[in-house]
């Protein structure tokens, strides 16, 4: 398996504070990777550097062997590297279906001039609705397709985050706390979706998560961060038995 995403010596400073300090790792295609670390250790900052929200001061990010360091987020997303947000960020007054439809890439009707000519975008709209409807079925969101996103439950919103990423043709998904503040049963459901998507569609996942007891069993490989640095990496058992990881989470 080739490395689909590779980051090399990435550093990001806020003032003199190094939020991400010289981090390098690679993700192989079709893997589920877990990124753990205490609050404020730079996990989200790292994801922001990868997904194009921040431009790292040093280091490079490669996606499918192309340098994407400092590229705009929408361009990175078009390459198939898509992120979700820690706090679910749907379009609150649009329905679940519309939330999905907004993510369709190259929708002909989203051009300011072609939008005036309905026949020119009707086909792509119908295809998009079918695709969205299928994905909603896969994620178990079909019963809320017609509900505005502001009436969805926390768990449904987290699923919608994943659905939206899939809708825009993601091949590698950066999931920022996909099961934060979610009950244990639904946590496992969400991770089972992740597993299924990996197995059926060959997607690669980098998951940021604090709920180690839930997430660990699904991860192929775990990275542990502390104070902006990569502490250790390996299988879940190896990492969670590492005394440095235990100290960083629980204190001395």
């Amino acid at each position: 398996m080739s490395e689909v995403l590779k980051i090399e010596n990435v550093r990001k400073y806020f003032g003199k504070f190094a939020a991400v300090d010289d981090i390098s790792f690679g993700l192989k295609e079709g893997g589920i990777y877990l990124l753990v670390g205490p609050n404020g250790c730079g996990k989200t900052t790292l994801v922001n550097c990868i997904s194009g929200i921040y431009n790292p001061e040093e280091g490079n990010v490669y996606y499918r062997d192309e340098d994407i360091t400092g590229e705009a987020m929408y361009k990175i997303s078009r390459r198939g590297l898509v992120r979700t947000f820690q706090i679910a960020s749907p379009f609150l007054s649009l329905t679940t279906l519309e939330n999905m439809l907004v993510a369709v890439p190259k929708n002909a009707g989203e051009n300011i001039f072609f939008s005036l000519f309905k026949p020119s975008w009707m086909d792509s709209e119908v295809t998009a609705v079918k695709q969205a409807s299928e994905l909603l079925g896969v994620l178990g969101l079909k019963h809320v397709w017609n509900m505005p996103a502001n009436t969805l439950s926390g768990g449904e919103l987290k699923l919608l985050e994943i659905g939206r990423a899939l809708m825009c043709g993601a091949e590698t998904i950066l999931l920022d706390e996909p099961v934060g503040s979610i009950d244990p049963k639904l946590c496992h459901q969400i991770f089972n979706h992740v597993l299924r998507l990996r197995d059926e569609m060959g997607l690669t996942f980098l998951v940021i998560e604090h709920r180690l007891e839930v997430a660990a069993q699904y991860a192929d490989h775990v990275f542990a961060m502390d104070r902006g640095k990569l502490l250790t990496e390996g299988t879940a058992e190896e990492v969670f038995e590492d005394p440095r990881v235990i100290t960083s989470y629980l204190g001395e």
Partner: protein
Amino acid sequence: MIDLLGLTVSQASGLSQLIIDIAMYFGAFVIVAMALNFQYGNAGVPNMGCAVQVIAGGFTVSAITTRVTFMIVKAAGLPLMPYASDYDWVYNNPHNVAVVTNPFIETHTMLGISLLLFSLALALVLGSAIGYIISLPAIRLRSTYLMITLITMADASQIFGRNIPAICGGTLGVFVPNVFAWYLGNRGIILAVVTLLIGIIAFFIFRTMLNSPYGRLMRAIRENDGTVESVGKNVVGIRRNILMFASGITALTGVMWAFYASYVVDNLFMRADWTYWPWLMLILGGPGNNAGTFLGCALIIALRRIILISKWSLEQYLFFPIAYVENILLGVLLIAVIIFRPRGLIPEKLLYIPGINYRKMVTGEAQVDLGDSAMPKAETEGGEPE
């Protein structure tokens, strides 16, 4: 030589003149308000610089159409006074327009119509260019800061107009050719008809755009631009297109208003008139839907007329100059709307794109009612959308 209602200026009674006036005001303001609804109500771009977009149209007429007309008239061999220097441009302007140009257009209908179309087309282009310029800060700034920047841009363009006589004659202003001189009836009628016609065309264009995936994308940007960016859409580019398009349409109002006033001076396009009142119309009617925009526009225009006509009866009770009455009353109305009807008189109804059977495509059932999505938000959400 056409006369739509058989009215001439001398025949027009006070009442019919009032109706014509209100129609003209409605036509002009509804275009600005619809464009603002497109920008703010749907895409969430808080454009506090509507005035600069209108000014783009007004200055197009004064600085370019007027000169082009002079060139044509001169080429036709008529005795035009010199207009090249700033001094001549301003001081010979009344003679050149009223004595030489307008009588010429009176007998050359096609010239008048061509000049009108030329002005509108040029304003569309220059308005879009202005939209591009005002979109530059929109890349970095959001809501409040963008609003402040656009207010200052509108004021700055007015100051340019006042201090560069070549644009619109500085503080004195310049007359612009009467492109409807060939119409022998009351020119207010034809101006109102053409303006309303532009308004109707603009309405259909805006409506078609909003009822398409583009409209959905705009609303998504309004709700959460970061998320739109994360799914691979160039939000900055989309915002820029929206500003450019809406600016082009708004500039058409500037053209019609310049012809209506038959005179352009910088304070013809005051910030209060062309930015604040369209905002008030939008907020009163309800941002996000054209019906609200129409209602807000009609109510504010009617209210302003009523205040204008009846404010003198208040004079004996006032301890401040009567000129402020209108601004005070409309300001109080704005505050009242924000407190008591933050979503406006006609709140936005979010619907699926009409004419597409989404229910059938998703669930396989036949759709009974288009866009019947549950909308509890309308009742629960209080605040004005950011």
